[in-house]
């Protein structure tokens, strides 16, 4: 190093030695700087396009702004209104029901399918199933809503037709407050199953085979094998899948918006729909921002709880 750096200016020399030091703190420094460097593009992007605008929205929630007139500062009035607004409560209730129904069905189905498909040794068959299950994910939300809207139609829909053939009465899928959330949940599960399925497939594929084999030799079989061995090993994947799915579903918009516009009444109106409607429909951008903020806090809370609980059941290798 001495001969090379003899001609270099002294400062660069010092820095380079500082960075390239083989000591523990040298490596630590390398890692730290590298860490920040690696993060830079992501952080910049997120700040400019998400954090910044979110703060803008936050600021907006303290104002009353209908686009035409200048914004009027009203402090926490929007939040007062939010807490006493019965319709928002209904929106949260609907969102909660949808999330619970959809995510539980999704995780169970996706895991089961992934386990079964993983076992198939025939290349052609496994590719077939993989493609078949993932196909709905490839459709856009709008296209899905349009298509399933037709299939769920009370009078002319294919689903009611086949139900009729096996003796079940026509169900008012989209026009009855009792059933509409189920129809939307089914649509969402149909569309998102492939996504979660792939995640589980990836997770199962990277399970260490030697551990599995050792367990089998020890006599673990069937349900025991699943609950005692596979699920714990899979837990980082399960955490990832469920956190992602819950966050996605809490922000649910496309399908209910297109299929029922929130109807009948408010029975399929989600919180995000209400936010969109207050802002873009009623031109109350301040109130809409307040709703968005409340949703953000809820999502934060739910995810926080999930991560906290995860310390107990997630097991990293």
């Amino acid at each position: 190093m001495v001969s090379k750096t003899a001609t270099q200016p002294p400062q660069r020399n010092i820095i380079r030695r500082w960075l390239a030091a083989d000591t523990l703190s040298g490596i630590k420094r390398q890692r730290a700087i590298l860490g920040y460097l690696f993060l830079l593009p992501t952080i910049i992007g997120l700040v400019v396009f998400i954090v910044g605008p979110m703060i803008g929205s936050l600021a907006l929630s303290l104002y009353k702004w209908n686009v035409f007139r200048p914004p009027e500062f009203i402090g926490l009035d929007n939040f007062e209104r939010l807490f006493s607004d019965a319709r928002i409560l209904v929106g949260y209730r609907n969102t909660a029901i949808l999330v619970v129904m959809t995510v539980s069905l999704l995780e169970v189905l996706a895991f089961t399918l992934a386990m079964l498909v993983h076992k198939i040794s025939n290349r052609f068959l496994s590719t077939f199933f993989r493609t078949a299950y993932f196909l709905p994910v490839l459709l856009s939300g709008a296209a899905t809503a349009v298509t399933l809207g037709y299939l769920f139609h009370y009078d002319f829909g294919v689903i009611n037709y086949y139900l009729g053939m096996i003796g079940i009465e026509k169900i008012k899928w989209l026009i009855s407050s009792d059933v509409v959330l189920i129809a939307i949940a089914l649509t969402t599960v149909w569309r998102n199953l492939g996504f979660t399925f792939i995640i589980y497939l990836g997770g199962i594929a990277s399970l260490p085979t030697e551990v599995l084999e050792a367990a089998e030799v020890d006599g673990a079989r069937g349900l025991q094998r699943i609950t005692r061995i596979i699920l714990p090993l899979l837990s980082p994947t399960i955490l990832f899948a469920s956190v992602t799915d819950i966050i996605k579903m809490l922000q649910f918009f496309d399908e209910p918006f297109i299929m029922t516009r929130g109807g009948p009444g408010d029975s399929s109106r989600t919180v995000v729909m209400m936010m969109y409607e207050s802002g873009f429909g009623n031109l109350e951008f301040g109130y809409a921002s307040a709703i968005a903020l409340s949703l953000f806090i809820v999502i934060l809370g739910v995810t926080g709880v999930q991560f906290y609980l995860s310390k107990r059941w997630v097991f990293y290798r």
């Binding site: 914004p71 009370y154 026009i175 109807g263 409607e277």
Partner: protein, 464 residues
Amino acid sequence: MTDKISRRDLLKMIGVSAVAAGVAAAPLVKVFARPAGQDAVTLRFQENADDYAAVVAAFNELFPNVTIEFVNVTGVDHAEIASKILAQLAAGTPVNIGYAATEATQLYAGEGLAMSLTERALADSAEMADYFADVSPTLIEGMMYEGDLYQLPRDFNAAHIYFNKSLLEEAGIEVPGEEWTKDDFLAIAQATTGIGPDSDSFGYGWTNRLWGSWTPWFFVNNTNLLTEERAPGGEAIWSTFYADQPLAEGRGGGWRWPAPQANNPDMVEALEFVVGLTDAGLTPQVEIGGGDRLQGFFVSNKLAMTIAGGFWAGSLNNAGMEPGSFEVQYFPAWKSQRHQFGTGGAWILNGGGGEDAAWEFLKFNSRVETMLMIPWMANASTTPVRRSMNTAEYWGQTGMENWHVFYDALDQRPDTAPIPAPVFSIEMTNIYTRFTSLATSGEMTPQAALDGMQAELEALYARN
């Protein structure tokens, strides 16, 4: 390199972006028409480039210094399109010339977004005389607000009943005459349910929205969702352009809808009638949205009657129905036979710059030749506002015999009025469709639904 430092950095970043976002969020209506050079002006025009390409080319021959930029805003319904336009305004890039239907007329006018056209129209009265003579005063009044004109109507649609002739023939029924009543309607609906190639047809279908849902029914029941009155003013327009027309008498400066009356007995009666049709199995599931699904059913001979305006005629042809396989008639009479309509036209952005050029463009668009350059105007996919365009030839493409009802709804019926659409019509429509859906799904009685609707409408009025 402690935690404190990085937290500070983070907060600094947040602070900077908050300031930036705050500054950017203040709405400033700048001058958006960019005058580049002496006379050159660029106008942002809310329309579909394909449809208007010929128009703009022709316009540019007369006014080569004006560049028109297209801003194609799509949406399922007029309210949605209005929302998009407002989003653009919120972000600081509004259009110079917009297109709005009745649903948004008072919104743009009332909030000061649209420029008043009264003075310019009067100043150019010689040039515009031909247009106004050709356009029913009913439509003009519909585009006025508090005494001033804000848009030049281009096309309109009143609500009529369309008939699927093959189903009617199968049931052995003739297309009814102009004076047919609600009871005649009911009889036809009953006779045409459960027939057709698969024996699964419905007599009557409708979509839950503002225009043409059950709105025409309460109109013919001689009531309205909101109370009505005429604003004062507008004498200049009436005396200049409609001096000798009986139909223009008694008109004012635009419509006002001062208070909600959603649950008055006639409204309840109308809703009960319509919901009764669903209960009797004569109507398929009622959904919120546009009419595309209904069109599908109609075209596949599963629907005998439905509400639509001139806009359906051309598009039924497009969808594959033979000319002559469908027919139209006035809305049936009940306590009255009052028709409802919606109309649309261009408006000019207030203070956006380039208003003179924009006004020239609007005038240019009001000519017959210009209107015919728009493909969907030429193929009878809407009702032109110009009487002279509503000819047998024009409508002959569709094969309907009763095409005259489209414009006669204005000329022969002085009580025809626009759908109720005050400044906050978007929010009003949401309340309207929401409670309607609860009534049609059977979860609330019509009376209860309308009571609920009235309560929320009252709150809405109080907030505004």
